[in-house]
Subunit: 334 residues, 2 copies
């Protein structure tokens, strides 16, 4: 059987990564553009198209393919913040340098007639997991992405939930704690304020202010010491400290796990997923998060779902998931 | 065009209501059985079948149909607590006198080979609204039923969400207030504990204990007076008092509206529905609930959904929705 190829494009605030993806989930070649260089959509898409043409001209040497024609591609998939599946537009994404309502569907249409599919980045990650990763064959699952913010993609009956607006699946803005922490969205108590990288740092700092750093910290390898200023602390640093046994860092991840476990249990009352997948920087801490998370999840889970949904880590490589996810979107039906 | 007919069966803890439903949403005839009379599934289903045969023999005189054969029916739909769409079984429903795992799919199969479809009662109500009511043509909406408990049915892409277990859509057991009121499910803070009939009464009693009944209550028509004991107070009584201007009753429904508005806003982050429909006794109070509910909903709604989802009342008659909803289930694809 002959290979098929798609293009996956991940639009980030800093970089735009794109890759030529073979149907067996191999990223054959990849490129990167600095998103910040573009103030307008036209030159941005023009440069993306030029990069795609370069990759196509190189072909897939490993598979003995010397070059690929644009019209041989199954399509171009793009994951972007605030990407709307129905309209093919990015709608006023606060983190992108190109402002306003960006009609990528139309702009790519000027260059090629192959299918173009857009969705938000977390939806793309979820669908990547479904097509290429650990969710293969699952008809009902949820992907939660922890990073600067918290995103989610929800799959029901094997289909990504886009909702009536094209922008469904924003569990990061589910209000977990009424009147809780102030969120960048202008409301209070969103999941994101507790389980994003920023939320994790805030929890650590609050704990440190309340309890003080343990006296033995300077003598313990990997613990966070009192002389490190708040503004230097990252979720990665807290994760490393938790793995080194720092009790404040461990307690931080326990609290994060309690919040996330509650959110995951609540999500089950909606779509009764087979699994909830997690990905993103803060999940890399491993057991200091996962062990209390599984406990909190089971504790908060309604009886009828107990033992019927598991928390799992994304099986896609961190540096591949965004491109694979975007390419997977091509397989979605409009 | 010739009419088609289906049977809708609503299994309640007290009564089992069934009806012969014409495709234009007319309930041609109906029957009722006392659920409590049955300890075993076999005689229960036998009696239901006998009642169906009676209704079929009577036909649909209004449409000039003298009798209908069982094999002319499009199917039998049943809404029941803990009804599992995938298995056709009712799974250990605490409020039913017939105990255990009840295989209705198999039991009805002994009597007839026409399609049989089972789902839970709130799902049936949602699908009834889709097929016969105000949600016609909506691909994404949610039905929330307020009663003794709080149930929900979720429609995504025109399909009822049943999830991996067959029991998805239990928003009544979404934990709204962490460590909040104790719920019958054994956990704490479920939406149901705040917005069910019982939750409404609890809120009123708490307010009354805290603030006391207004001095002028005995002179005001329809207000709840201090001499009425807690155990006599119902959500209906509080609703009537709210409409008569009783400030404690009004405050009670304001609080209920705030909780329900938050829950509805949270539901939007999941499936971005076009509308959230409400039904059930406590919603009949009208404006004392609906006006603060719409305010709380908009206030708690994430920006991208503002103005794109409305709170609406079910358009089906209270005494018809359960039978119509059950009959509508026949139109679901497995």
């Amino acid at each position: 059987m002959q290979n098929t190829y798609a293009i996956g494009i991940d639009v980030g605030g800093t970089n735009t990564d794109l890759g030529l993806v073979r149907d067996d989930s191999k990223i054959v070649s990849r490129r990167s553009l600095p998103t910040g260089n573009y103030a307008l959509i036209e030159p941005y898409v023009q440069d993306i198209i030029d990069q795609i043409k370069e990759m196509l001209a190189e072909g897939d040497p490993e598979a003995g393919v010397t070059s690929i024609r644009m019209d041989e591609l199954t399509g171009i998939g793009m994951g972007a913040p605030n990407g709307n599946f129905y309209t093919g537009c990015v709608e006023w994404a606060p983190n992108l340098p190109i402002r306003g309502l960006l009609d990528f569907q139309k702009e790519f249409g000027k260059h090629t007639s192959i299918p173009f599919v857009l969705s938000n980045d977390a939806n793309a990650a979820a669908y990547g997991e479904y097509v290429y990763g650990g969710a293969k064959g699952m008809e009902h699952f949820i992907m939660i992405t922890l990073g600067t913010g918290v995103g989610s993609g929800i799959v029901v009956d094997g289909r990504l939930v886009h909702g009536s607006t094209g922008t469904a699946g924003e569990l990061g803005h589910n209000i977990l704690i009424p009147n809780g922490r102030r969120c960048t969205c202008g409301r209070k108590g969103c999941l994101e304020t507790y389980t994003s990288a920023r939320g994790i740092v805030q929890t650590y700092i609050e704990l440190r202010n309340e309890k003080g750093v343990p006296q033995e910290a300077p003598r313990m390898k990997g613990w966070i010491t009192a002389d490190i200023e708040d503004s230097y602390i990252t979720s990665k640093m807290i994760g490393d400290a938790a793995n080194a046994g720092d009790p404040l860092a461990k307690e931080t991840y326990c609290m994060v796990a309690n919040w996330l476990g509650l959110a995951c249990a609540n999500a089950c009352t909606f779509s009764a997923p087979e699994a909830i997948f997690l990905m993103g920087g803060p999940t890399k801490v491993g057991e200091p998060l996962l062990q209390p998370l599984r406990e909190a999840f089971e504790e908060n889970l309604l009886n009828i779902y107990k033992g019927r949904c598991e928390i799992r880590m994304s099986e896609l490589a961190t540096n591949e998931v965004a491109i694979l996810g975007a390419a997977a979107l091509i397989k979605l039906k409009k």
